[in-house]
Point group: C2
Chain length 269, copies 2
């Protein structure tokens, strides 16, 4: 890293932020009144939230997006009543679909087993994604959020990834499934299951700011992972663990295929 | 792993859960009416939430706790109005302090820079933690949540960790700071900064269930971390990145020391 580049970066940050920490004073995501555009120089990050999503799919990327400074991070849904995550966390949307203007910097969809399959063919969700998605600089997801993007026709002809247990289902939606942690194909950027969200978020931070900015966030959030076990992929987990999780998820895969089948016919793929 | 042991585990899970996925059908954390105890066999996990907490500190452990089955995971605060995280995520508490009974299985405190220092000497928070904390099977935290536990006198004489930038502040609260990802000292279990929450949560899953149960959750949530950079600790990040983050966090450290100083005198340490 060139000293001058870094000094400019750090100085810029320090000047802009004065006494602020990365997270503590980020722009709250609901400061813009509904329907109002943020001022020039503020990038809009539009994150879908929905009932029975997996909150971690949303929250890890949200932390990194919100730490970029000069962003307006919106949590959007049909209305502003709390959506309860699949593990019981009530999260309040900050904007409704009709108030989200076209051409955000990022549109993002988290995953969440049952909740995902319920929205894959939801008319309001599809109308929203098909209106805003094609106008976004980046169309992104973590975990089964990719199946929602695919159901809206937004991954047709793109390489993409999702949670490993439903990865092949992407093929039914016109995408090419890829077994990687984060898949970048032009402006489609998709993360693998749940915990891939932090790796995804760092990749996005690097794209939207710089590699050094992402490294500062990695240190700020102490992302030096030390899993106490080594069972994070099918190969590493071994046949016994893998078999148990696969059988556990069998109904999830069935639901995913059913919803993807409906989307497949709707999209005339 | 013995086949019989695993078969019993997997069979038990399958029998209990039928078509449920790990997360999608976990017991919502707000199903118990205020003041009511869960039925026998249900373990209570009590998680503090508060304004300007870092949502990821809460959400990663919450996912793992809620995936243990037969748990009632509560998000507790003074009232049930949404608390807005330091990056603008509004989360609705599911219980209030006065409705949390003593002797939960776990009490947990997340971190969050400014929000943390505001509650370290908050009378309601201290009264709550000092009533329930000593009766919990496990007293736990991630990130600067440890400073809140310490301010309530709950880490006196224990080894503990917190976010690296304020690790030494633990000493002012009668604890012994330890530079490890997750520190276990008897029933005090503390995680390092922010992203340590998933490593912490897997350790807790192993303690409360079994190593194989934790491995299944690791695979289910695809925790096979692949950071795009290697800057997650001061040593790895290098002097330039480290210096920028340290200067960025200087006011945070000052706030932490000020709050810890007040707690130090209050606790007559």
């Amino acid at each position: 890293m060139k000293r001058l580049t870094f000094a400019a970066l750090a100085g810029g940050l320090a000047g802009t932020l004065a006494t602020k920490s990365f997270a503590a004073e980020s722009q709250p995501s609901h400061t813009m009144p509904p329907g109002m555009e943020p001022p020039p120089g503020i990038q809009r990050i539009v994150m879908l939230v929905y009932p029975k999503m997996t909150a971690l799919d949303l929250i890890a990327p949200q932390l990194l997006f919100a730490s970029l400074m000069n962003v307006d991070v919106q949590l959007v849904w049909k209305d502003r009543n709390p959506v309860v995550s699949d593990t019981g966390v009530p999260i309040v949307p900050t904007q409704t679909f009709e108030n989200v203007a076209a051409s955000p910097t990022v549109i993002f969809v988290p995953g969440g087993t049952k909740g995902t399959f319920a929205i894959m063919n939801d008319a309001d969700v599809l109308t929203f994604l098909q209106r805003v998605g094609p106008t976004a600089d980046y169309v992104t997801s973590v975990c089964t959020g990719a199946l929602v993007l695919g159901s809206a026709g937004l991954l047709r002809g793109y390489r993409a990834t999702t949670h490993w247990v439903v990865r092949d289902v992407l093929g039914m939606l016109g995408a090419t499934p890829v077994a990687e942690r984060v898949v970048v194909d032009r402006n489609r950027i998709t993360g693998a299951g749940v915990t891939a969200g932090f790796d995804f978020g760092l990749r996005m931070a690097a794209k939207l700011r710089s590699d050094d900015y992402a490294r500062m966030l990695q240190l700020a959030y102490e992302y030096d992972p030390q899993p106490p076990f080594d069972a994070g992929s099918e190969a590493k987990a071994g046949a016994h663990i893998d078999g148990a999780v696969r059988s556990f998820y069998a109904p999830v895969v069935a639901s995913a295929m059913e919803a993807a089948g409906i989307a497949h016919r709707r999209l005339a793929l």
